[in-house]
Amino acid sequence: MIDKTVPDVETAVAGIPDGATVMIGGFGRAGQPVELIDALIAHGAKDLTIVNNNAGNGDVGLAALLATKRVRKIVCSFPRQSDSWVFDGLYRAGEIELELVPQGNLAERIRAAGAGIGAFFSPTGVGTELAVGKETREIRGRQYVLEHPIFADVALISARAADRWGNLVYRETARNFGPIMATAAATTVVQVDEIVPLGSIDPETVVTPGLFVDRVVAVGQRAWLQGGTFVGGVDIEGRPLVADTEEAAR
């Protein structure tokens, strides 16, 4: 019997070595596998290269990982955000290396790694400083820049549900980088709200087939769902609105 589920997040991130390249899913906070990141922090691997669209928000999740100074380099498209102070400080202090990649090139390079593409001519970035030093070519009258795949040792991603074969479904725009990162890593680790019985995910609606998944861990339902149904009652960071209301009433 195939069973890719593991009992806890510690087991899920076990064995990630120092120096690993780790893809971390999410676009801002949406789809960010916070529980797995916390486990990676506790695990202690250092000298990491992180691939993510951003460079952390606030003081949790990816930002908390950066704060440990165990990340040597980050590959991303949009590090600078209103709440990216952890990264900003490290970058200004010269304590983290940044490879800035246009978001579409980032996505396509990750896909290329998973799809066995050696390299591809991209329309994005031509004539900009992000293409400096890269091969360019005119094809059918248009300029392109040659971009190479981004591989990872490990991908940490978040999905809504999985079965024991590792088939995944996501939720709304939290899907983002999860499906492509799952294809580009030697080991793909997924946190989900729940493990569902094999056969309960309609084969037409599987987004990531279990082929791409190595370990799955259930971390419980997100705060804005009840029984899988959206109920709201949170702010954009997922914190209960009730607290705010109480504070406002004081």
Partner: protein, 220 residues
């Protein structure tokens, strides 16, 4: 005294140029205002780079869904007819030329349609490009929404961009608070001057030889 329309008036002006049935991406910041002025009785489908077609307005208070955000990480909703997809598919839509219009902000636009909107190149600044370069080269029409003048009074319409480029020859039209300019083989053409603004005033403000679209129909 020159006429300057407000940010909201400009958003409404842009919205009026977007035909029903268009697939549109509105960049982070001011361009998102355009959504507020799309006609309620027409169907225009908004794309957000983080994996949604058919994006709807902000949710009611209490109905914020942290899984459902736009490119600016603000909470949004999904309309009936929406579709979710992953990032490679989302950018394939852009890069494959499937979006009809995108509206972007700008630091500078050159008269050959080069766009600079992602970096001022200032020392010590933290660079961030996001999806700007993909949008710039991908949409069928790239509209820029911006003030004509920077805070220091310099023109954002320029002969050649001084700031790092986002894309080369990619802008089709620039909507400013003073006027609307088309990018043409002969340079910027004044498509519409707001209020009493004259092409001579615009030439003075920009320092560019602007084409008067009204008198050069044959030329373009």
């Amino acid at each position: 005294m020159t006429t300057r329309i407000s940010r909201n008036e400009l958003a409404a002006r842009i919205a009026a140029d977007i035909p029903e049935g268009s697939f549109v991406n509105l960049g982070i910041g001011a361009p998102t205002l355009v959504a507020n002025f799309l006609p309620a009785d027409e169907e225009i489908i908004l794309h957000t780079e983080n994996g949604l077609l058919g994006m709807g307005p902000a949710p009611e208070p209490g109905r914020i869904d942290p899984d459902l955000i736009n490119a600016g990480k603000q909470p949004v909703t999904a309309l009936a007819g929406a579709a979710y997809f992953h990032h490679a598919d989302s950018f394939a839509m852009m890069r494959g030329g499937h979006l009809d219009v995108c509206v972007l902000g700008a630091f500078q636009v050159s008269q050959t349609g080069d766009l600079a909107n992602w970096s001022t190149g200032a020392p010590g600044a933290i660079p961030a490009v996001g999806g700007a370069m993909d949008l710039a080269i991908g949409a069928k029409d790239v509209y820029v929404m911006t003030d004509l003048l920077a805070k220091d009074g310099s023109s954002k319409l320029v002969a050649a961009c001084a700031y790092p480029l986002t894309g080369v020859g990619c802008v089709s039209r620039v909507y400013t608070d003073h006027a609307v300019f088309d990018v043409t083989p002969a340079g910027f053409a004044v498509r519409e001057a707001f209020g009493d603004n004259t092409i001579e005033e615009l030439r003075a403000l920009t320092g560019l030889e602007l084409v008067d679209a009204a008198t050069s129909v044959e030329g373009n």
